[in-house]
């Protein structure tokens, strides 16, 4: 249980302080690195291979997507126990759209380019409606969120079962399957392009923030500190792309692809997977959710309401409608996660998303979201999801039996929250 360490020692020297890096973030990254290194050692280097890093990222996406929404829910002092079931219902609706509604009523056969977009739009609409309905029950009818979503956990799991008559629905549309991970990647070139675009955007963001502070004559970090952070960001983004690009498509699979096109593969031809589209989706969602959290009125009101609901009300914020919006966002993210989860397994099954509510809540909480409300970050929740998935995959690789894996994950959750409580007490946050 030495995997999750207390956040790295605070304020070692002034040079470190000048970087103004969030020590909580640093602690989480530290914990993640320790987890990776320990498993890498235990698996004799198999944990940190491009192949495993690739698998780890695509396994994390579905839970991480929902965890970003769970941050808003928990920040406003609510909880959502229904996300796994809502995911299943959205997945069932999208599967039935593809296999029954589109071919049967609309005359669109599986493989028609309109099938996937149609299914996704309907699935996301279902997510918004279900989430918004939960929010209405919580916000306007003042039923505790715990009860509403506990009911939702049972209802939506079995609505999904009803919609599919309990059957497994597959295979799903090929365009749809692009969101699943291995079946949809950007390839080497576009992965680099995307990485460089991200890098430029990150640098411009840093530059703009600095300019705004100078314009208003606020204190700014020393130039070397800004450059150091810029360098770390560059290394992280480009390093991530490089690792994913190092995972090459197996030769047999390439040969089959060439055969399918009626060509023969040139000698020594290689191709890398690169960035999975599902991970791209997660990155986009993470950026959008971070902007919502930090730079929009909606986000400001979410955090204000979590910090002091009465003050928010007295400031003229419609906290009831805010609750509806927060749960509706959660619903959208469940639907997006359903796209990723269903297409990753290439079919819809009854047990899809089972126990995801616990993984999602755990990810948000490990990522520093306080159940008392008012505190939480999007990047923290994603890191939390990544840490949980690393633990699970790592233990599976080491050969720990599934029941023991769950025991460890459960203990880690409790210990992580304890560490967080101690940290907050020390720093007085």
């Amino acid at each position: 249980m030495t995997d999750i360490h207390a956040p790295a020692g605070p304020k070692k020297k002034s040079a470190f302080a000048a970087l103004e890096i969030d020590t909580r973030l640093l602690g989480m990254i530290g914990a993640f690195v320790v987890v990776c290194l320990v498993f890498n050692l235990l698996t004799e280097g198999r944990f940190l291979t491009p192949r495993n890093v690739f698998n780890l990222t695509i396994q994390t996406v579905s839970v991480a997507l929902m965890a970003t929404g769970m941050v808003f829910v928990i920040v406003t002092r609510h909880i959502d126990l229904s996300v796994g079931s809502v995911l299943a219902t959205c997945s069932a609706i999208m599967a039935m759209m593809q296999t029954a509604v589109a071919p049967g009523w609309l005359g669109l056969e599986l493989g028609h380019p309109m099938v996937a977009p149609l299914a996704i739009v309907v699935g996301i609409a279902a997510g918004v409606i279900i989430g918004g309905f939960h929010g209405w029950l919580v916000g306007y009818l003042t039923i505790p969120a715990f009860i509403v979503t506990l009911g939702g956990l049972l209802v939506w799991r079995n609505v999904a079962w009803h919609l599919t008559s309990g059957q497994t629905i597959g295979p799903l549309d090929e365009t749809f399957q692009l969101f699943g991970g291995i079946n949809g990647t950007l390839g080497e070139t576009w992965s680099w392009v995307f990485g460089i675009i991200c890098l430029i955007a990150a640098w411009l963001g840093l530059l703009q923030a600095r300019r705004a502070r100078i314009r208003h004559e606020f204190p700014v970090k020393p130039v070397w500190a800004e450059l150091t952070i810029g360098g770390i960001v560059a290394a992280a983004i480009l390093g991530f792309v490089a690792v994913l690009n190092a995972y090459e498509v197996p030769t047999r699979r390439l040969e089959r692809m060439f055969e399918a096109r009626g060509e023969t593969m040139p000698e020594g031809y290689t191709e890398a997977y690169g960035l999975p589209i599902s991970v791209l989706l997660l990155i986009i969602v993470a950026i959008v959710m971070t902007i919502v959290a930090q730079r929009t009125r909606l986000g400001r009101y979410i955090f204000a309401t979590g910090g002091n609901p009465d003050a928010a009300e007295l400031a003229g914020i419609n906290t009831r409608m805010l609750t509806v919006k927060v749960f509706a966002i959660m619903g959208i993210l469940c639907a997006i996660a359903a796209v990723v989860a269903a297409s990753r397994q290439t079919f819809h099954s009854n047990d899809i998303g089972t126990l995801d509510e616990l993984r999602v809540i755990a990810a948000a909480v490990i990522g520093g979201t306080a159940l008392a409300g008012g505190v939480g970050t999007i990047y923290g929740a994603i890191l939390g999801a990544l840490i949980m998935q690393s633990l699970q995959s790592g233990m599976a690789m080491v050969g720990v039996d599934a029941p023991y894996q769950n025991i460890v994950v459960g203990i880690v959750l409790v210990v992580a929250v304890l560490v967080d409580i101690i940290y907050r007490r020390r720093t007085g946050d």
Partner: protein, 256 residues
């Protein structure tokens, strides 16, 4: 506070025959009060006398069952805090109503954020404005990037007051503004009230401290058990008279 208040014109606020009850209890029963420009009216009474409830009808937190509110002679309906703000009514609550997890600027602009051309909140501009107004109200204020939970009582009070002052309140409601403050900070609030008076702002001041009321207010309205005992000009009555009103609900022998 001896400058005579001109009460010949239209009152800034007039609350007429306000009643509100909660579950059969008449928290406020047929109470009428008014407030003129540049005037400070103290609202006095025991805990549970109905002062805060009355004032919450004006700030939009409660909706009265009966009665009318006039602002500048015009009848208005105040359904929520936003309506009150639209009539330039600002409130400094006893609890301060701050979101502890947010910084000073976010609290000051809560519900009225400054935005950039793209519709995103403009944190840099809000911080700059916050630095300006707090520099005026409390020059010692430094912690602009810390959540307000990390501030002292006086600093938190400064944030709550700056919120009312920044948005050009015409009518200011202060619910026990000095209850949590030290001597120095109380003096600062008194000076601020004086300055606001000069600008023609009308202030409802809820307070327990009779000395303070005598010193700061022009008139005092005393409530007991949800009813208005009476309204007196503080210079024309003694502290004992006011105490008699609060405790016994007795009208003083007042020279008209």
């Amino acid at each position: 506070m001896t400058t005579a208040i001109d009460r010949s014109g239209t009152p800034l606020v007039e609350m007429r025959n306000i009643s509100i009850s909660f579950g059969g209890v008449h928290a406020v029963d047929d109470v009428s009060v008014d407030l003129y420009p540049g005037e400070v009216v103290g609202l006095l009474g025991h805990n549970g006398a109905g002062k805060s409830t009355l004032i919450k009808c004006l700030s939009g937190a409660y909706h009265p069952d009966a009665g009318e509110i006039y602002v500048n002679g015009e009848k208005v309906t105040i359904r929520n805090p936003r309506d009150a703000r639209d009539h330039n009514i600002e409130t400094i609550y006893q609890t301060l109503a701050l979101a502890d997890n947010l910084d000073a600027a976010s609290n000051l602009f809560l519900g009225r954020e400054l935005t950039t051309a793209t519709g995103l909140v403009d944190d840099a501009r809000m911080e700059a404005e916050t630095r300006k107004i707090l520099g005026r109200l409390n020059p010692n204020f430094r912690k602009f990037n810390a959540p307000v939970s990390a501030l002292s009582g006086g600093q938190r009070q400064s944030v709550a007051i700056s919120r009312a002052v920044y948005f050009n309140a015409r009518i200011l409601i202060m619910d026990e503004p000095t209850a949590a403050l030290g001597v120095e900070e109380t003096r600062m609030v008194a000076e601020l009230i004086d300055e606001l008076k000069k600008q023609g702002i009308g202030i409802f001041l809820i307070d327990h401290d009779i000395h303070q009321v005598k010193a700061l207010c022009d008139r005092a309205s005393v409530m007991k058990n949800g009813k208005l005992v009476g309204t007196v000009e503080v210079d024309k009555v003694s502290e004992d008279d006011i105490l008699g009103m609060i405790i016994l609900g007795k009208q003083p022998q007042q020279a008209a």
